[in-house]
Amino acid sequence: MKLDPKQYNKMVRRAAPRSPVLKDCLWAFFVGGTICLLGEGLRNLYLIWYDQELAGTLTSISLIFLAAVCTMLGWYQKLGAKAGAGSLVPITGFANSVVSPAVEFKAEGWVTGVGARIFAIAGPVIAFGTLASWVWGFLYWAMNKG
């Protein structure tokens, strides 16, 4: 009566508790929404003094700065543990994914630790983001030709 992998896989799927999808979605929606609302608020504030383009750039810089500070204080991790994609997808999540390895691997030195591993999480996003923009750039060029 030995278990085989297929049978066991079924058993494991039955035994594993499911993620509370509705609760997770609500958390993600409200936290993600709040981060975007904060961004919109900041943009409107900057629009008082600057033009559209500069206000947008300043908003991004401000959000990245805030996320970096929250990461270093250990707050972003606590938020992320609840909000999931809500705090992962906005630009603040990207900042968190760069700052957290920088903090973590400082113990291994500035070059071999921080420098080498700062993009350990964000690296694939940058690599494949660049590839995607190359593909779309080519398609855009081809469509304009035609």
Binding site: Y8, N9, V12, Q77, A81, N96, S97, S100, A107, A120
Partner: protein
């Protein structure tokens, strides 16, 4: 001499666990076994001691634990004949640096979360064979050191799946002697690797369960003992998911385990402490052994226990290469305290 039956080594003259100690972190102190720890560290980074890395912090956790264990036994580290020590870090880093400080004859052991039963089993064999009079079995894990090695940076805001387990920040140390007062080690069963192709690194309980079931059945087959002969059958860190699977599998094998308990579910209050499916890590079963199992056997509250530690033997490399997770489980059979037995006669 010891008798070997199938995979089980049965000691004719059982060696004893003469002394033990457990050290835990903040979350372990807040758990149901919190009061039973010999020492709880408030700051698991040991910043006050000038420690700059989590690897170093785990080594300090081990050193504190060893010092407490030896103090309870009333011996100095210079009198030690041998130490079996292990932890979760690659190359057994924490143990190596601990032994640099302690200077004992040392054999490093890696069995992932199965290390406590593995070191205890090896120490008992060496003691019973007369190779060493004072043997240390030392095991630890540190949440922060394990996270940075196996998962993501500590400050990364990711979400854990419900099947994920929490690596304990804890160390356990046992001093084993060939005879004298203490809790006797009656037999040892070293497990065989079992792999039913679980690839989810966030479901270690499921990956380790087949090994736990296999070792328990191997032990029962060799000794013709059954679950009813034990006050408790403990597994290392299957957590809630792995424990449920173990019950399902043992029922299927016609050998239900009503007195089964899992160290991963005992170390923390799962409903309150946000550890998802329970505790894990080499220090998890080590801490439960030294705070719950051995004290109960000494007091006579329990008479006979089968203690298993379960390990998931993947590495970060094989996991990324798509390999499945091999599991292992070692069992140590413990009896009730020697003095207690004599008193009963």
């Amino acid at each position: 001499m010891a008798i070997r039956k199938e995979d089980t080594i049965i000691f004719a003259r059982p060696p004893v666990v003469a002394a033990w100690a457990a050290v835990g972190g903040k979350r372990e102190g807040e758990g149901p076994l919190g009061d039973a720890f010999d020492h709880l560290v408030k700051d698991s980074s040991f910043a006050a001691e000038g420690c700059k890395s989590w690897e170093g912090a785990e080594s300090l956790l081990q050193q504190k634990c060893t010092a407490l264990c030896l103090r309870k036994a009333g011996i100095s580290r210079k009198e030690m004949d041998l130490a079996f020590a292990g932890d979760l870090q690659a190359q057994c880093t924490a143990s190596n640096y601990t032994m640099r400080q302690l200077g004992m004859p040392y054999a490093g052991v890696y069995g992932a979360c199965s290390t406590m039963a593995e070191t205890l089993g090896l120490a008992a064999c060496f003691a019973a064979a007369g190779y060493a009079r004072q043997t240390l079995a030392l095991t630890s894990s540190h949440f922060c050191a394990a996270e940075r090695q196996f998962r993501t940076p500590l400050d990364y805001g990711g979400k854990r799946t419900p099947t994920a387990q929490w690596t304990a920040t804890a160390a356990g140390a046992c001093l084993i002697r060939p005879d004298g007062a203490g809790v006797p080690v009656l037999s040892v069963t070293f497990g065989r690797v079992r792999d039913l192709e679980i690839r989810d690194i966030n479901n270690m309980g499921a990956a380790m369960m087949p090994a736990a079931a296999s070792t328990i059945l191997a032990y029962f087959s060799a000794t013709s003992a059954g679950p009813e002969d034990f006050d408790a059958i403990l597994t290392g860190d299957l957590g809630e998911v792995g424990s449920q699977l173990l019950h399902e599998e043992m029922n299927r094998q016609g050998c239900p385990l009503p007195n089964h308990r899992d160290c991963g579910c005992l170390l923390y209050d799962i409903t309150r402490q946000h550890v998802k499916a329970g505790g894990s890590g080499a220090g998890c079963s080590a801490a439960v052994l030294c705070t719950l199992v051995l004290p109960r056997l000494r007091s006579g509250e329990w008479k006979r226990v089968l203690f298993l530690s379960t390990g998931a033997l993947m590495s970060q490399t094989t996991y990324l290469q798509g390999e499945s997770i091999p599991g292992i489980a070692h069992a140590v059979e413990l009896g009730c305290s020697v003095e207690e037995k004599e008193g009963a006669k």
